[in-house]
Amino acid sequence: MRVVFSLFLSTLKVFYRDKMTFFFTLIFPLTFVIIFGFVFGGSSSGDNKLLVGVLSSDERLYSAVNNIENLEAKKFDSISSIRQAILEGKIDGGAVYEDGKIKIILNLTTMQKNPFSRTLGDTIADRFIKSNIKIDKVIDLKLTSIEPGKVSTSELGYMIPGVVALSIFNGGMFSMIALFGDYKKRGILKRFSVTPIEPYLFTVGMILGRFVVTLASATVVLLFSQLVFRVNFSINWLLYLVSASTSILGMMALGILLTGIFTEPSVASEVGSILMTTMIFFSGIYFPLEFLPEYLRRFGSILPLAYVAQSIRISTGVETGSAIFVLNISLVMTIVFFILVFIFGNKAFKSE
């Protein structure tokens, strides 16, 4: 037990000294949280009013825009000043009425942040026409946005569990590539094999150390976003610990598998980086997959990071799902981990 504990402690120290692992497990996800937090933090669709510039001479358009929910009109002296304000990000868009035509001026960021802005022209034209016949609405569309989870959270809040999943993915996979690939190449396993330490004790100690630092890093990312960006979660801590822990084991299994397939650790590490990039784009943690072709959606649905992210979303209360789903995923991850660690752990020591 003392051996395992000593190895565990040394792994903790190595983690903070190994700049690359430390970066990919903790700094990389935190960087994403900070960037997306500041850039997209305020945009939870429907919550914020779009600021639309109109000419101060056009009172009719000004009041038509102000009568639309989610819009607020701001007066400007000229079209060029509206354009400049849009370019500088001071307003989200502009509307100008000329010869029976309403010209909507938008910037790309508004289009990306707020899908509603794409039909701004039709919406303002509609309200503009009706303002002339003193009819505001014929049918009142009452929109209720249903929260997918137990708690009402912003876009950022919905995204954070994905970032936590990414931290788990990086920490789990790259740590095993280092342990079974890099340590083997550098002869560290060989040196340990001539000591009285049993191979399984060495493996348990090292895995335990990496497991703890990955779990701690993922939790730091989660709590950091909650603290700094005031993201709303309803964390079921038991479910979170189960899903995060077993996901780490599952991602470790992936790392072990890569070192089994690619004996050169640098190749395994490169393949891991390619997998990471693929999963960032296609597992639905940052970008919606609904508009992609069917074959890409199917591809996204087989990526493990998609399941890890969904489990974390369920356990943080931002998505509805049964505990059975989380436990099933956890069971699969754990079984795969033990099978692979048994096969490749033994193989790694025997070959030395």
């Binding site: 700049k19 990919f24 850039v39 309403i102 790309l108 701004l120 022209g121 026409i129 640098s266 508009f291």
Partner: protein, 388 residues
């Protein structure tokens, strides 16, 4: 001749390294392809069909609405996969559960009193009274792009339907059309035209960070530059060869990305246009010098790796390579302002008429030049002290 021979050797040894070959030459092409798969559908959702549940019942107005939704849910290019169910509390509860588990994208519920309220509204309107409009309930799922987009389409359909109703009761409707201009862009916004210059800057940035920054730090750490110093080859010749080898690499990278953008994704950007060439050269000079600067401040390869990784993503994302970054708090805006990529990306897009820059052309040229001068002076001073 010796300089070119050495440059040739340095270039070949770089691209023979599998990792450098993949990340510096293959990956940018893959990244461009991924971007073109992921992002354009977010702007154009024409080919997507949304699952819509319409909760209706018998009644003149309800049936008109149902007919309209049936019409747009027919044929090959149908907008909706329509499911019509009877309006009831029990059905609503079931459909809301379906919405939560993403079995449907949107629910439109026409309340039972809707038809009566509509008749009432028209009658009162005819005698000059302003009654409250009858309501229809719509349920969408937050954080789901498909649900939000389906709502936008449904809202548009209802707006047109309302105008039809108003016309039928005898109001004269003025014709007002609308058009949208994305500020500072060409007439039709094209994502490939937007992203292609961004990827060109990205490849040069990658070479600056990893092909020069970490590579030069490795040469320094292993004492290779020091060893060259004691040979007959002047160290200045080595540096010139090194720079030429990286220029070979950047030219190859830009050619590969350009071929992909031109032949596969049909960009309208002319890579031989003077503004494109001018800003590309400025990018090469500025970001290469940035690479040398990073190498000069890193004592070991490991620390160079750590610094480049820390700078890599913030500089890419906050430089506006993939999306314009505006309207952010001051806590992060200063990074945008000091980032040379901000000015290079804005400048190149503005000069090509793709997206108007919030900065004047003088600023988009001056800031990268200042960065270049600073990085080169700093590097020369540091290397003179340590290596040469």
């Amino acid at each position: 001749m010796k300089i070119l021979k050495l440059a040739d050797y340095l270039f070949k040894s770089l691209i023979r390294d599998k990792s450098s070959f993949f990340w510096l030459l293959v990956f940018p092409v893959i990244l461009l392809a991924i971007m073109m798969i992921i992002f354009p559908p977010l702007y154009e959702t024409k080919s997507v069909t949304f699952d819509l549940t319409l909760m209706s019942h018998k009644g003149m107005f309800s049936e008109i609405i149902e007919r309209v939704f049936n019409e747009v849910s027919k044929g090959e290019n149908k907008i909706f996969q329509l499911k019509v169910v009877q309006s009831s509390e029990e059905n609503l509860k079931r459909e809301l559960e379906n919405l939560k588990v993403k079995k449907t994208n949107l629910i439109v519920e026409i309340p039972e009193s809707f038809d009566a309220q509509m008749l009432n509204w028209f009658m009162l309107k005819n005698i000059g009274v302003n009654p409250p409009p009858p309501s229809i309930n719509i349920y969408s799922l937050r954080h789901q792009a498909s649900s939000e987009t389906a709502y936008i389409i449904v809202k548009d359909i209802f707006q047109k339907l309302e105008l039809e109703f108003i016309k039928r009761i005898g109001y004269k409707i003025e014709e007002v059309t609308s058009e949208t201009e994305i500020v500072g862009t060409k007439d039709t916004f094209s994502f490939i035209d937007f992203i292609y210059p961004g990827i060109v800057i990205f490849v040069v940035f990658m070479t600056g960070l990893f092909g020069i920054g970490t590579d030069m730090a490795w040469l320094k750490e292993k004492g290779i530059i020091r060893r060259i110093n004691v040979t007959t080859l002047p160290s200045s010749n080595f540096i010139i060869s090194y720079i030429i080898s990286r220029i070979y690499l950047i030219i190859l990278q830009i050619i590969l990305v350009t071929l992909m953008a031109k032949l596969i994704f049909k960009t309208t950007v002319n890579p031989l246009s003077p503004p494109f060439i001018g800003y590309s050269l400025l990018t090469i000079v500025c970001l290469s010098s940035f690479g040398f600067f990073l190498a000069s401040i890193s004592k070991t390869t490991n620390s160079a790796n750590a610094i480049t990784q820390v700078l890599n993503f913030p500089m890419q994302f906050l430089g506006g390579l993939y999306f314009p970054v505006t309207n952010v708090p001051w806590a992060i805006r200063w990074i945008i302002f000091i980032n040379p990529i901000t000015y290079l990306a804005s400048g190149i897009r503005d000069s090509l008429g793709i997206l108007k820059s919030p900065y004047s052309p003088i600023i988009t040229i001056t800031v990268p030049i200042l960065w270049t001068v600073f990085c080169f002076l700093f590097t020369i001073k540091r290397f003179n002290k340590e290596e040469f």
